[in-house]
């Protein structure tokens, strides 16, 4: 009885977060049934995750942008343009892959600082500044691809970022052993981290979850990680895209939760005037967040270009809207100040699962858009309603 009450309490406190995970599970199960298990097959899950990568990294950056009450509409074509720049560097100049990546990411950060400069120092609303950016980079993308049209990239190691999988260590039929091993290591790290955290809290005499609840939580999360890696290892194992996304999420999750910068970002979003009077340099925070966004747009461009193995003239179209939708579905508040990087990733997967599942079911594209729109609205309604209830 005690455990059930505790679970109820946890559920109540975290309804928004858990609601999203539940929604994802419901969507997955529904499609699984509707497609006779095809949706949950190793191959499809692997595809689904890899397709979502370039939107997921954008959603991470967009989360911070929306938290500080701004918006960035330029990210799609910044990604498209910098993807083309990467293609040109690789095919025309022979710059090595690693240098290409560094240069493109640096260009992204530079573009972001400029947008941040327009927003903070020039006082242009971010909607306008980034709308202008969207037009400019769309033009820039057309400009750099005008002579060649689509630029095919023959470089295998670059393309692997979007298509390749991590190598295997032992060859067992039907199982990718390194993926499984990494899964086990991840579970180990997770359990170690949780125990450490719990121990620290106990030395401070803070309240912690009951032993039963704690065990259940560990078990549950370990099972989820285990299941995902098991599924992936049944196909080609972990892709490089997934590795990139995981690293980005870990870094941003760390920054938002564990650093002063992260706290200042939330404060600026929660109440800019109070943040200013608390000694926070609001302009500096805004600049950093826009730089990080465009740098992630550059990364998104790399992932997308590598996945297509080419830079196209229309790359990046509507990425920004997918990223914004993912963040909102993932629980970022439209009023700013609230939102989690992990939430937005889940939001991205919810939206991607919908597309993937409906494609498998053969749902007409017209209905797909309508359903995605409805899900976005439903998610935000749920968000607004649960938020009101808590306050």
């Amino acid at each position: 009885m005690g455990v059930i009450n505790e679970a109820k309490k946890l559920m109540k406190q975290n309804i928004r977060e858990y609601g999203m995970y539940i929604a994802l599970v419901v969507i997955m199960l529904t499609f699984s049934v509707a497609t006779d298990g095809l949706f949950m097959s190793s191959r499809n899950i692997s595809n689904l995750i890899n397709q979502t990568g370039y939107i997921a990294v954008l959603a991470v950056g967009m989360t911070l942008i929306l938290i500080i009450r701004h918006i960035d509409l330029s990210v799609g074509f910044v990604a498209g343009f910098l993807g083309a720049v990467a293609a040109i560097l690789l095919t025309k100049t022979g710059v090595p892959v690693w240098a290409t990546i560094v240069i493109v990411l640096a260009c992204g950060a530079l573009i972001g600082s400029f947008i941040g400069f327009l927003v903070t120092k020039m006082g242009i609303p971010s909607f306008v500044a980034t709308l202008a950016g969207m037009l400019v980079f769309r033009g820039a993308l057309l400009r750099v691809t005008s002579g060649t049209g689509t630029i095919i990239i023959p470089n295998k190691s670059f393309n692997a970022i979007g298509n390749g999988f991590i190598p295997d260590i032992a060859h067992i039929e039907g199982i990718h052993t390194l993926t499984l091993l990494l899964g086990v290591i991840a579970i180990g790290f997770y359990i170690w981290g949780e125990f450490n955290n719990r121990k620290n809290k106990l030395t401070y005499n803070f309240e912690v979850l009951s032993n039963t609840m704690f065990t259940l939580k560990l078990l549950f999360v370990s099972l989820v990680i285990g299941y995902i890696t098991w599924t992936l290892s049944g196909y080609n194992g972990l892709s490089w895209t997934v590795i990139v996304v995981i690293i980005v999420v870990l870094i941003y999750n760390f920054i938002t939760n564990k650093t002063v910068l992260g706290r200042h970002i939330y404060a600026v979003g929660g109440n800019p005037d109070a943040a200013k009077l608390s000694g926070i340099n609001v302009n500096r925070i805004t600049l950093i967040v826009f730089s990080s966004m465009s740098m992630l747009a550059a990364l998104s461009g790399i992932l997308f270009t590598a996945r297509l193995q080419s830079a196209t003239t229309t790359a990046g179209t509507l990425f920004e809207l997918d990223a914004i939708a993912a963040a909102y579905v993932g629980g970022v508040s439209a009023a700013g100040g609230v939102g989690k990087v992990t939430g937005s990733i889940i939001g991205a997967f919810v939206m991607a699962s919908l597309v993937n599942g409906m494609n498998l079911m053969g749902v007409d594209i017209s209905y797909q858009y309508i359903i995605r729109g409805a899900v976005l609205v439903a998610a935000v309604i749920f968000d607004v309603k649960t938020r009101n209830k808590r306050s």
Binding site: N200, K201, K258, V260, A267, A274, L277, S278, G279, G337
Partner: protein
């Protein structure tokens, strides 16, 4: 004796926890200029909001009788239809629209379904003449006019609605002397044309110059009505009635009287606000010593909050002249962060607006101004954070189930304690408190006063800005009175009285 155009009978209006109006009676004779005076928070604005329908019928008890008929106003448009117009201190004009568009906004002149702009411009011109603005082109945009003229256009707008009873809420607060005189002259002219006016004002000289009748409100009650005709009005009598309240015995004693060196001092402090295009502070000089509480008294709009902001790193980006010394060293704070580093903390007047982050919890609010304290190698120690927040929750007696409680869900008193905790956590030498007890209950007030005493005993210096005279008198070692951006006087605790302060503040 003329007949009354308006009678408000036994009006009582309560807000959660506060009785804003307590059985107020208010009568206005036809054709007179009636001034309503009282301290900040006496209930003047609430009374006028009841009259204008901002607080609709049913939310208050008592009767509003206009021209002998009981009225039930459910909205502002109801009271406007009955011939009542209110002009607020914050003007309700739209800067980007022209004068004629503004005058007839909401009651446009129509020909069929469409607006008749020619007739609108013609009538606007006539209205402008009525208020003495002969040289203003009706096509001028509002933003291109000065505040004084804008005020007159508000009146023109009211006149265009065929107003019988004109209510002005501190109309001259933002005006210079010339503009103020113009406005008073206009009120007299309107009176000659049969318009009745009710004016709320803090400037007693004006009140005496213009009023036929003065009604004083204090703590939500009518204290008295005085008539000029019978020679009952004088400045000292008005002040006596305004402040006549007994000082409650809620101020804890403080025995500590040995002050140290001057900790913070400003000299020739001037500020200009480019956003409103006006000088807001003129040549202020003041200082605070170690272990001392100084009170900054004055009326709303006197420039007290602006003074605090200008010292605390100037977040409003005023243009500042003058010298600031902290611990004997000359300082130029470029941002609130500089001020915090130098040991100055500022608890804002508007805790919901720019003090706290309401969607965040207690611990996040308490630690936000000093997160460095909680980091090791750049990593935030969340357990240390909870510990620090718990310390202030205990020591300030913040009533909440845990420090994870959202600040938006706390009562005003507890929110104020969170604000205090936040600024004590930066370990300041000088604490500026802006209206530290506004909107909080008596119990929490007492706790905050006790805390202030404890803090000065530990050597902190406090600059307390307050509109509540008893609080200023009960807590301060020294008092500066600010009026219209200037220091109107300095009083020691011994020589200060409510009357003296009010006299300085209203001049």
């Amino acid at each position: 004796m003329n007949e009354n155009i308006l009678e408000m009978k036994n009006i009582t209006k309560t807000f959660p926890g506060v009785k804003a109006l307590d059985d107020v009676n208010f009568q206005v004779e036809k054709g007179e200029i009636h001034c309503l005076v009282g301290e900040n928070g006496a209930g003047k604005s609430t009374l006028m909001k009841v009259l204008s329908g901002v607080y609709p019928y049913g939310e208050y008890s008592g009767d509003i009788v206009l021209n002998g008929e009981i009225q039930k106003f459910y909205s502002i448009s109801d009271s406007e239809r009955a011939g009542i117009a209110i002009i607020y201190q914050e003007l309700a004009l739209i800067p980007e629209l022209s004068v004629y568009e503004n005058i007839f906004l909401g009651h446009e002149i129509k020909k069929g379904k469409l607006i008749d702009w020619n007739e609108t411009i013609k009538q606007a011109g006539a209205m402008l003449k009525k208020v003495g603005l002969h040289n203003v082109n009706p096509a001028t945009k509002i933003k291109d006019l000065g505040v004084g003229k804008q005020q007159l256009i508000e009146i023109a707008k009211a006149l265009s609605k065929n107003v019988k009873l004109l209510i002005l809420d501190e109309p001259t607060a933002a005006l210079n002397e010339g503009d103020s005189e113009n406005l008073l002259k206009l009120l007299r002219e309107l009176k000659a044309q049969g318009v009745t006016s009710v004016m709320i004002s803090h400037k007693l000289k004006e009140v005496i110059a213009i009023a036929d009748t003065v009604t004083v409100l204090r703590d939500g009650q009518t204290i008295c009505s005085m008539s000029a005709e019978r020679g009952e009005i004088s400045e000292s009598i008005i002040i006596k009635h305004m402040v006549g309240r007994e000082i409650d015995n809620i101020f804890p004693k403080r025995n500590h009287k040995d002050f140290g060196d001057i900790v913070l001092e400003v000299k020739n402090w001037c500020a200009y606000d480019p956003k409103i295009g006006r000088d807001i502070l003129h040549n202020l000089d003041f200082n605070v010593r170690k272990g001392e509480i100084i009170g900054i008294a004055g009326l709303m709009g006197a420039g007290r909050t602006e003074l605090a902001h200008s010292i605390f790193g100037n977040p409003g980006e005023y243009r500042i002249k003058g010298d600031l010394f902290v611990m004997g060293q000359k300082k130029h704070f470029k941002s609130p962060n500089d001020a915090i580093k130098a040991g100055v903390a500022y608890v804002t007047e508007d805790r919901k607006g720019n003090g706290l982050i309401l969607i965040d919890d207690i611990k996040q609010n308490i630690t936000i101004a000093n997160l460095k304290q909680l980091t090791q190698q750049g990593i935030l120690n969340r357990n240390e954070e909870v510990k620090a927040a718990n310390y202030y929750k205990e020591s300030l007696n913040i009533k909440a189930p845990s420090v994870e409680q959202k600040v938006g869900n706390l009562s005003g008193g507890n929110q104020q304690k969170v604000s205090l905790g936040k600024w004590l956590f930066v370990k300041p030498n000088v604490l500026i408190l802006d209206e530290p007890t506004r909107g909080i209950d008596v119990g929490a007030k007492f706790e905050i006063y006790t805390l202030m005493n404890k803090l000065v005993e530990q050597g902190l210096s406090i600059i307390m800005i307050s509109s509540e005279l008893p609080e200023v008198l009960g807590m301060s070692d020294r008092i500066y009175v600010v009026s219209e951006g200037k220091i109107a006087g300095e009083l020691t605790a011994e020589e200060a009285t409510q009357e003296k302060i009010m006299e300085m503040a209203t001049n």
